[in-house]
């Protein structure tokens, strides 16, 4: 085990730095926008590393499913499974987005 801070704690530290020091100092729209994008990217990495967030389908399973659907073999329950699969990705990339469907 490496020394602390852990990967999550390091990401947190950079998030704090960007939001409390870099973002308020950004003068033009472009710099502000890019800082927000960077914060968003770190937020995604943070949620992915937090143990509770996992994807539903492994790469192999997703690849097999993609091939089967491309071949036109769509089965009962595929759409429900895919919705769960995509929702799991969104809980990492943008949890607030899912709330727009509630």
């Amino acid at each position: 085990m490496p020394d602390r801070p852990t990967a999550l704690e390091l990401i947190e530290a950079v998030i704090e730095f960007l939001s409390t020091e870099v973002l308020p100092a950004a003068t033009d729209h472009r710099a502000k926008f890019r800082t927000l994008v960077a914060l968003n990217a770190l937020g995604i990495a943070y949620r992915e590393l937090a143990a509770s967030n996992t994807v539903l389908l492994s790469d192999d399973e997703a690849a097999a499913l993609a091939r089967r659907i491309r071949a036109g073999d769509v089965r009962e329950g595929d759409r429900e499974l895919l919705k769960e699969h995509v929702a799991a990705k969104l809980r990492i990339s943008n949890p607030a987005y899912l709330e727009r469907y509630e």
């Binding site: 472009r30 960077a38 990217a41 499913l65 993609a66 091939r67 036109g72 969104l90 943008n94 727009r100």
Partner: protein, 310 residues
């Protein structure tokens, strides 16, 4: 002249005017944009960046020709000034430098009255451009195009595959191809308090079923958070379609757009993935491109939800 810009002399020669200042504007993703003072007139020089040729993107020469054709057809566009050939080894053209609001999030907060019908006005004029005026524009099967793009990503996306499958199963009767803008939505139009001022970004122009353009601004991503207003986060689809019919004679019902809305989500979801690859493969390193790879899931969820409700 700005000695710092090595192709400044070339620019003066091609424009045939004295250039007194030039400034690189922030924000160009696939192209540079320079604000240039040429004999007292403010022009915008769009210049290619190295190695970002997306397969469906027009060359700057062709983009300039589309801009000229649109101006002739009375579409509200920045006045085309000149195609400049290569400046410092990269293609460029000059057009009028315009001002106004392009940021979608700001426009949806306070849209100018009448924007719905103004969008239809411009689209009707674009779709009336004679295709033989622009012989280099490409058509082709839209679903094959996105299958091909998705294959180029090299990562499995079963939800996008599901969208493509559903689109193949429910394909509508086609309408005859028209000249399409290819990216007609908030973000690519300039708005002022008076309403729609200019239509920008013609690099994705192609020939297609008119409904591809008509439905593109209703895709949820282009509502900029204002989900309840189906048309671009600014208004109702009904007025827009009525006006479009009045001007073009094409009757499109709101329900006819459902298929194209699913297609729009496949299109932007795939677009996010291909753009993130520009970062990942080192072509164009940028945190903005990088995060787009994670944004594709939003379009995947939306298309599955649309199909649920279809």
């Amino acid at each position: 002249m700005s000695a710092a810009v090595p192709w400044a002399d070339e620019l003066e020669t091609r424009l045939g005017r004295r250039v007194t200042s030039m400034q690189l504007l922030p924000g160009g993703a696939s192209k540079e944009a320079w604000a240039v003072d040429a004999d007292g007139e403010r022009v915008l020089v769009r210049r290619a960046l190295a190695g970002v040729i997306h397969e469906a993107t027009l060359s700057l020469e062709n983009e300039f020709q589309v801009l000229e054709a649109a101006a002739e057809a009375g579409v509200k566009v920045p006045r085309p000034v000149a195609y400049l050939g290569e400046l410092g080894g990269r293609e460029a053209f000059a057009m009028e430098l315009v001002e106004g609001e392009t940021i979608g999030r700001r426009i949806v907060r306070n849209p100018p009255p009448g924007l719905e019908t103004q969008l239809a006005d411009e689209l009707a004029k674009i779709h009336a451009i004679p295709p033989d005026r622009l012989p280099f524009l490409r058509s082709g099967d839209v679903l094959e195009r996105f299958e091909h793009e998705l294959d180029s990503v090299g990562e499995p996306h079963p939800a996008l595959e599901y969208g493509l499958w559903w689109l193949r199963e429910h394909r509508p009767e086609p309408l005859a191809d028209v000249v399409s803008h290819g990216d007609f939505r908030l973000g690519n139009i300039v708005v002022s308090g008076r309403g729609l001022e200019y239509v920008l970004d013609w690099e994705f122009a192609h020939l297609s079923d008119p409904r591809e353009d008509v439905a593109w601004p209703i895709v949820r991503a282009w509502r900029f958070g204002n989900d309840d207003r189906r048309l671009g986060g600014i208004g109702e689809v009904g007025l827009y379609l009525e006006r479009y019919e009045e001007l073009t004679g094409r009757t499109i019902h709101e329900g006819d757009l459902d298929w194209w809305e699913v297609l729009g989500n496949v299109k932007w979801g795939t677009g996010c993935l291909t753009q993130s690859r520009r970062h990942l493969n080192g072509q164009d390193r940028s945190v903005e491109y990088a995060v787009l790879g994670r944004m594709a899931a939003e379009m995947e969820y939306e298309l599955l939800d649309l199909i649920d409700r279809a």
